[in-house]
């Protein structure tokens, strides 16, 4: 973030603090957290742009829950909590896997995901960051949006919002190269250049270096982040498909010191279903 933008951001935050409440009064769309209580609108910056953080004085962050995932799976032992997922999610048998990818997915289920790279403290690329334990924060710095993940190896991901395009001949990386734009209140992120060293989701959705994602992130109400991603990966899927989940705002949650590598004894002990 440039010095000028840092000043603008600080000024904006100060104005926001002095002008609370500056909430929109538009009703939340269907699918948001509407458990009968009055729905609190999402906060906004002074310029009207929606905020994915807490207003000044309200600490909290987003905690994607285990069980939220891209495609509904009723398989035995699978942690899949349907009410966390988007109502439009496919059932697992409708996901357009390439044959090898279907085999890899079910093999991972059969083995209780014992080989999950995340358990070896690898970064949570793609959708995985949005349901990695211990939550994440979203820093909107105008020219870039940064996602800070508390769990795994305490990593972060940058989304360029300055209009640039993807570079040619990217070297594959854990988070790829992301460019974003706002479509109304929805942050739309286009990412390419992933490596294939991580699992896209906690339960082991496979992908290849051909993966291209388009993520659509919105905040239908104060307590809900809606995450949806379109998967375009001809190496692993026969056609594009989409899925996502709702992520709750957890008041009082803060990033904490967490480095998975410090004393990770789990890798050698993940033996799977053998008795």
């Amino acid at each position: 973030m440039s010095h000028r933008l840092a000043i603008e951001f600080t000024v904006s935050a100060t104005i926001l603090a002095l002008s609370l409440p500056v909430f929109a009064q538009t009703p939340a769309p269907a699918g948001a957290s509407t458990s009968g209580a009055a729905v609190r609108p999402a906060p906004r910056w002074p310029d009207g742009r929606i905020s994915f953080t807490g207003p000044p004085g309200e600490i909290g962050n987003w905690d994607g829950r285990p069980g939220s995932t891209l495609a509904n799976n009723l398989g035995e032992g699978v942690i899949d909590v349907f009410e966390f997922n988007l109502p439009t999610n496919l059932n697992i048998d409708r996901v357009p896997f390439q044959p090898w990818a279907r085999e890899a997915y079910y093999e991972r289920q059969k083995n209780f995901t014992k080989d999950d790279p995340h358990t070896r403290c690898k970064p949570s690329g793609g959708p995985r960051m949005f349901h990695t334990p211990y939550g994440f924060e979203v820093l909107d710095l105008v020219d870039e949006v940064i996602f800070v993940s508390v769990g795994a190896p305490h990593s972060w991901r940058v989304v360029h919002m300055d209009g640039r395009e993807h570079p040619a001949n990217l070297e594959p990386t854990w988070f790829g190269h992301s460019v974003g734009r706002w479509e109304g209140d929805t942050l739309v992120i286009d990412t390419v250049g992933f490596n294939d060293k991580f699992w896209m989701t906690r339960e082991g959705m496979p992908h290849t270096t051909a993966l291209h994602t388009i993520e659509r992130i919105s905040r239908p109400d104060f307590n809900t982040l809606r995450y949806e991603v379109t998967i375009d990966d001809p190496g692993a899927y026969t056609q594009t498909w989409s899925g996502g989940w709702f992520i709750p705002w957890v008041p009082g949650n803060e990033p904490f010191d967490y480095l998975c590598q410090e004393n990770n004894l789990d890798a050698a002990r993940m033996v799977g279903p053998r008795k």
């Binding site: 905690d63 829950r65 285990p66 032992g77 942690i79 083995n111 209780f112 995901t113 014992k114 999950d116 995340h118 358990t119 403290c121 990695t132 334990p133 211990y134 769990g151 795994a152 904490f256 010191d257 967490y258 480095l259 998975c260 410090e262 004393n263 990770n264 004894l265 789990d266 002990r269 993940m270 033996v271 799977g272 279903p273 053998r274 008795k275």
Partner: protein
């Protein structure tokens, strides 16, 4: 060393209104890949080592094997340090030499390791949840 199912059932019944129920904790790994839900254990032993480190706090206790008479050193996994602090743990909640009764789930690999679900300081009866990643409630409360 291992208590009977009846004793475990009684232990559940002993839980009183002083106990707070919290949600199961998240974890960075699949619980079932490492621990066997069909092998619940309850052991009593003396603390020999405590590692307050990420991604999981581990403590080790000497436990007398009631069958062989040998003393075995068991290792127990709990949640990350920060989550335990949220559950009421302090750095001095457990100290080397303390005697504990621990409920947990044994590792699948046959080693003397387990995931701790409930820790009781036998001297005071104080119960502390272990921020277990197992899909069940965690108990934290006062002496019972």
């Amino acid at each position: 060393m291992l208590l009977s199912d009846m004793r475990k059932a009684l232990a559940v019944l002993w839980t009183s209104s002083t106990i707070l129920i919290a949600a199961p904790a998240s974890a960075h790994h699949s619980f079932r890949a490492q621990y066997d839900p069909d092998q619940p254990i309850t052991v009593t032993g003396v603390v020999t080592k405590i590692d307050w480190m990420n991604p999981h706090v581990y403590f080790y206790i000497d436990v007398k094997n009631e069958t062989t008479g040998a003393v075995e050193n068991w290792g127990f996994e709990m949640g990350p340090p920060h989550m335990l602090q949220q559950r009421g743990w302090k750095r001095n909640s457990m100290q080397i030499g303390d005697e504990l009764q621990v409920d947990g789930t044994r590792a699948r690999d046959g080693s003397l390791t387990a995931n701790a679900r409930r820790v009781m300081l036998t001297a005071t009866g104080q119960v502390l949840g272990a921020a277990s990643s197992e899909g069940q409630t965690i108990t934290t409360g006062q002496p019972q």
